[in-house]
């Protein structure tokens, strides 16, 4: 793809999300857990009167590590037209916004593991590290 990608760290890995899909970043949120709900639900929080459902992206990506506790930073996605409810997911910390071009990105490598392939749309070859760009559509399907 070509465009701006918001990068963030989750479980020690660098991920990216097309900036077009991001509504905003919320820091220091106080969320309410929802007992007896699916495992990938972290809880709900109040964003200016809107209830945002927080997903556990780390769990969905099955990368084992829990997000760092204590500082709840989350990315809220732009709601889709057909489903006006907001969703977001916890991250460890935000990175930066990078411009990417087609020539530095490609599809996920064939040997990438399990759940990740479902979510990772493409891999961007940055200078120091590899950035996994997540498909926000897949997140909405959860």
């Amino acid at each position: 793809m070509t465009g701006k990608v918001l990068t963030f760290y989750l479980g020690g890995l660098l991920f990216g999300l097309d900036i077009v899909a991001v509504k905003e970043i919320q820091r220091n949120i106080e969320y309410t857990p929802v007992p007896d709900s699916p495992a990938h639900i972290v809880g709900l929080f109040n964003m200016r009167g809107q209830v945002v459902t927080l997903l556990d992206l780390a769990y969905l990506l099955n990368n084992g590590k829990e997000p760092e506790k204590g500082r709840a930073v989350c990315i809220v996605l732009k709601p889709r037209a057909e489903a006006p409810e907001h969703i977001g997911f916890l991250i460890d910390r935000t990175g930066s916004v990078v411009d990417i071009q087609d020539d530095i990105s490609e599809g996920p490598p064939a040997n990438m593991s399990g759940e990740l392939t479902r979510f990772v749309k493409e891999v961007v070859k940055l200078n120091e590290e590899l950035l996994m760009v997540i498909d926000s559509e897949v997140i909405f399907e959860q």
Binding site: E30, T32, P35, D36, L44, N46, Q50, V51, E85
Partner: protein, 1024 residues
């Protein structure tokens, strides 16, 4: 064509219609041939045609027209629908769909193939009915002016109404209204393109002769049905709105003719018809003209050519189309619509933001509370923001309000159809259709109301011959009425039918095993009536397809209660039945109780809450027992299953710890009852209900989410789902038991209290027993004077101190006050003060059951649940003492007066018992308690008692009987007995003394009663 707003509306509406058509046609493809389906398709196509006609969308009209013709034949069973037919119709519908999406260019398309295809099907059919219906005549009867419509006219009306058309009486002034059009012929063409004339009458009385013709006008008055709303008719025809009268679609056909001619009565030229005048002469007078119309028979056939010709060759004249555009433009300038269409989701967003703003305001007020005095002017700014925020929220809530007419309007049709079906003559009257309720309530009201209306028609109203026999009018009446009462909206469904026979219900309930014969004997009429709401109850002698369709009254009741409402029945045999629905104005906000488990807060809707029980470890009367792995609580002789919310939600593993205080909420869903244990119970809170985010999937334990006062999200608990999740299985026996239990609980408390419910600045609802209220006076905020810390008002020429309960009680307090307040003037107090309140909520008669889990505070007797919300009962003596301790210091001398002596308190009303007990214990007495004379007598047999304080009016054994027994018992005779009563007249005192009471005192005068107690004890000691 220029009017985008209307076009947009048309597209929205038509899109829905083409979908209806498509889905319906697909059903036919599957071989289904339900009359409902064909009617639905027909209606949808018809509506498209009607509105398209208004905009002059030729192609859409053409296709819709042939589709309608074909569907009409199918509907009338003149044509069998084949797969080919369905295919052609689907293709035509697809074409319609495309044209609707691209309305602007719709007329450029070639639609002839669809029209040919469908016309071909129509032409190939073999006519199995004569093409032309027999010509019938309107029959006029001069004497009662009753005009009977020909059958085909009836069909037009019935058909039109079936299609959701409106019925209008329109008065057209030929010169004034038609001038703008090229010719009357054109005008009438336009008229028939948007609807159908049912009957008409031309009033030429204004034209007296040739001299008048340039200034006099001809009035053409006609009954008209169309899909268009009134405002659109004014636009389409350019007729002033006041000349269009929308008729109640329930109007009887016979009345229509009269309505049409009513104009004549107003016309000055009209003279009463004189039957003696020779007919020929009559024609020469204007009166004759009127009769001319009536004498002659008019056939609908005569009007048809105009209609059908304009439909089959629709509006080809281009000036006419331009005209429609012009007309819209012009009319827009004239009739400026002062409403704006807003999407509901936008309103919901506004509502969200407003409640956020309320939160923000609260935080702001808290933060700045300490600086109010430091910063000059801050106080008034804060108060202003406070008021505006509250008002903003209220106004936004109002935007969701809709008139009940939205639901009511479908009933005339239902009643018409029912009367036909049932062979009954039923007249439906509606009142208060303008009363508004929240949109969501309006929407959920349709089913329960329809059920009740059907019931009234089916079971309530008798057959005409039965009615006649009973001396009633042949026509049965159903009256549907909405009105405001005490902050709620009541909807009454009143019929003047047979009424509900209590005996019949009793018999049925016994037969169905809903109660036992012995119980039936002791049940009040009202309790028996309530059996109607039991699941699986139907009183109809035979189950008809009208109402006995498996949807019982229990469902109605459940649905109404889901909305936070209540339902009540009043009936008089032979005279009729009234069902009363009491509904909250808004649904989005519900009273809830905040509970806590594992450190997390949840909101529990108070509608399901029955009572709160607090179980102390080691309390022999109230303990949780373990039984077969389940935990149960004995509550009033019944086993109540107890589950812990933490266990259900998986927040804790360990089972209930009974060595600590356990707080149990007794919840009731229909007839099911269970106890839900929680870690802590917080305050009640009015919460704004938001739907459960769909990303959560199936979470049966919750019914929604809300944002609490602290800004955090909380889940709203769903008692039904929780019981399912916890695998609670209720047997029929248990359900029955729970119903019985409830009744016996009510019976055991014979004396009902009248409570005044009110609110102060906070959210809590308070109550005060009416027996302690002298009067309630409305006052203006400006009348309150401040002297030092205290506030006073002028009352009957004296200054009376007023107090605000929220200043002394542990309840919420908000700054600011409305301009209009109320002062409660109490009675039976020594040092009267007025209680300043913001709002009177209601006065209700009830039997108070106090909650075990008490909101313990000085100034409150306790809490109870009324109308599904927690109500705090004020202890007026405590409150006054808190407000004016100086008056009550004198009490201190009583504080040890009791000296551990034993008082037997006999009182049947829990409220009074609780208050009296509290000050007797405060004074140092040991209190034994009996709830009636009999219980007291039993206690006296086994316990040693120093003095008896007894109520007079009590069930089982009253106070007189008790004191007589004491006096005639050798051992007990010297016992001092004090009567406490609310009957203070001299005659009662006399009776009391004769019966053997030592003293006769008014209830609740704490100080006097304590004085009397001491005096009585002293006198007896001296005597002894």
């Amino acid at each position: 064509m220029q009017n985008l707003e209307f076009i947009k509306e048309f597209i929205e509406e038509a899109t829905v219609h083409v979908e209806t058509v498509e889905n319906g046609l697909l059903l036919f493809g599957n071989g289904t041939n339900e009359p409902d389906t064909i009617h639905g398709i027909f209606r949808a196509v018809h509506s498209i045609k009607g509105t398209a006609g208004f905009f002059g969308l030729q192609n859409i009209i053409k296709i819709a027209h042939v589709m309608e013709n074909l569907l009409g034949e199918v509907r009338n069973s003149n044509l069998a629908i084949t797969n080919d037919t369905v295919d052609y119709l689907l293709a035509a519908n697809d074409c319609l769909k495309e044209m609707i999406v691209d309305v602007e260019n719709s007329d450029d398309r070639d639609v002839s193939v669809h029209i040919e295809n469908i016309t071909a099907i129509l032409e190939n059919r073999k006519p199995n009915l004569p093409n032309e219906p027999a010509v019938e005549f309107v029959v006029t009867d001069e004497k009662n002016q009753e005009v009977l419509f020909a059958d085909n006219e009836k069909t037009i009306i019935t058909d039109a109404l079936k299609h959701g058309h409106g019925l209008y009486k329109i008065r057209l002034r030929l010169n004034e209204n038609v001038k703008a059009n090229p010719s009357p012929v054109m005008f009438f063409n336009k008229l028939s393109s948007i609807g159908q004339i049912i009957d008409s009458y031309t009033d030429i009385s204004e034209v007296g002769g040739l001299d008048d013709i340039l200034n006099a006008d001809i009035n053409f008055i006609f009954l008209f049905t169309t899909v268009l709303e009134k405002n659109l008719i004014t636009l389409a025809l350019d007729i002033p709105e006041e000349d269009i009268v929308e008729l109640d679609i329930n109007t009887k056909k016979e009345d229509l003719a009269q309505i049409l001619r009513k104009d004549l009565d107003f016309s000055s030229a009209f003279q009463k018809f004189d039957p003696l005048t020779e007919p020929r002469q009559m024609v020469q007078s204007s009166t004759g003209m009127a009769n001319g119309v009536m004498d002659h028979s008019v056939t609908t056939e005569e009007m048809k050519p105009v209609n059908s010709s304009s439909l089959s060759t629709p509006l080809t004249a281009s000036p006419n189309v331009d005209d429609a555009g012009d007309m819209v433009k012009k009319a827009q300038a004239v009739a400026v619509d002062d409403t704006v269409r807003v999407h509901v989701s936008l309103l919901n967003d506004l509502l969200n933001l407003a409640s956020e703003m309320v939160l923000g305001r609260n935080q702001l007020l808290r933060c700045l509370e300490d600086h109010r005095k430091e910063i000059a002017g801050l106080n008034s700014v804060l108060q202003n923001i406070d008021n505006i925020t509250t008002e903003l929220q209220e106004k936004i809530m109002q935007t969701r309000m809709q008139p009940v007419a939205k639901v009511f309007n479908k009933f005339p049709r239902i009643i018409r159809e029912l009367s036909k079906k049932l062979g009954k003559d039923i007249d439906l009257q509606m009142e208060g259709t303008e009363v508004e309720l929240d949109k969501s309530i309006i929407e959920s009201l349709a089913d329960p109301l329809t059920h009740l209306i059907r019931n009234a028609a089916d079971h309530g109203i008798e057959r005409p011959e039965v009615r006649e026999l009973q001396g009633k009018s042949k026509t049965g009446h159903i009256f549907l009425k909405a009105y405001h009462e005490g902050g709620r909206v009541n909807i009454d469904i009143i019929d003047d039918g047979a009424g509900i026979k209590v005996e019949k219900i009793k018999a049925k309930a016994l037969e169905r095993g809903l109660m036992r014969a012995a119980e039936a004997e002791s049940m009040s009429e009202r309790e028996i009536l309530n059996m109607l709401f039991q699941p699986g109850f139907s009183t109809a002698e035979q189950v008809t397809d009208v109402s006995g369709r498996g949807v019982g009254m229990d469902v109605v009741k459940t649905n109404i209660e889901k909305l936070g409402g209540a339902i009540d029945i009043m009936t008089r045999p032979g005279q009729g039945t009234t069902f009363r629905l009491a509904l909250p104005l808004t649904l989005a906000i519900i009273p809830s109780l905040i509970v806590e488990v594992a450190g997390q807060k949840f909101a529990l809707p108070q509608v399901n809450l029955q009572e709160m029980v607090r179980i102390k470890p080691g309390d022999p009367n109230r303990k949780i027992e373990r039984f077969q792995g389940a935990q149960v609580l004995r509550l009033r002789g019944r086993l109540l299953p107890i589950i812990h919310l933490g266990n259900v939600l998986g927040l804790r593993k360990e089972s209930l710890d009974t060595t600590e205080v356990v707080r149990v909420l007794v919840l009731k869903i229909g007839t099911k009852q269970y106890g839900l244990a929680v870690d802590a119970i917080h305050d009640g809170e009015e919460i704004l209900v938001k739907p459960l985010p769909r990303y959560l999937g199936e979470c049966p334990c919750y019914s929604g989410v809300t944002i609490l006062g602290d800004g955090k999200v909380a889940m709203i608990l769903n008692p039904e789902g929780i019981s399912g999740k916890a695998n609670l299985r209720f047997t029929e026996e248990q359900r029955k038991k729970s119903a019985e239990e409830e009744q016996s609980a009510i019976e055991s408390m014979a004396e009902a209290q009248n409570l005044l419910l009110f609110q102060c600045s906070g959210t809590e609802t308070f109550s005060l027993d009416l027996s302690m209220v002298a009067r309630v006076e409305p006052i203006q905020a400006s009348q309150i004077e401040r002297i030092g810390e205290k506030e006073y008002i002028q009352f009957r020429g004296d200054s009376l101190r007023v107090i605000r309960p929220e200043q002394y009680l542990p309840v919420t307090r908000r700054e600011g006050q409305p301009d209009k307040l109320y002062v409660i003037i109490p009675k039976l107090v020594k040092y009267p003060m007025g209680i300043l309140i913001h709002r009177i909520e209601d006065i209700i008669q009830t039997r108070v059951k106090f909650n075990q889990e008490n909101i313990k505070a000085k100034g409150l007797v306790g809490s109870t649940i009324l109308h599904n919300r927690i109500v705090l009962v004020i202890n007026i003596y405590d409150l006054f003492e808190l407000a004016a301790p100086e008056h009550y210091q004198i009490h201190e001398r009583h504080s040890h007066s009791g000296n551990r002596r034993t008082v037997l308190l006999v009182e049947d009303t829990p409220f009074f018992a609780k208050m009296e007990r509290s000050y007797l214990e405060w004074a140092g007495y040991r209190v034994l308690y009996g709830s009636n004379g009999k219980e007291a007598w039993d206690i006296l047999q086994n316990s040693s008692v120093d003095v008896v304080v007894s109520d007079i009016q009590m069930p089982v054994m009253d106070g007189f009987e008790l004191v007589k027994r004491i006096r005639s018992d050798q051992r007990l005779a010297p016992l001092p007995v004090i009567a406490l009563t609310s009957m203070t007249d001299e005659r009662s005192r006399q009776l009391g003394r004769e019966a053997g009471f030592d003293f006769y005192e008014v209830k609740l005068d704490k100080e006097r009663i304590l004085d009397r107690l001491e005096e009585a004890l002293r006198l007896r000691r001296e005597a002894g």
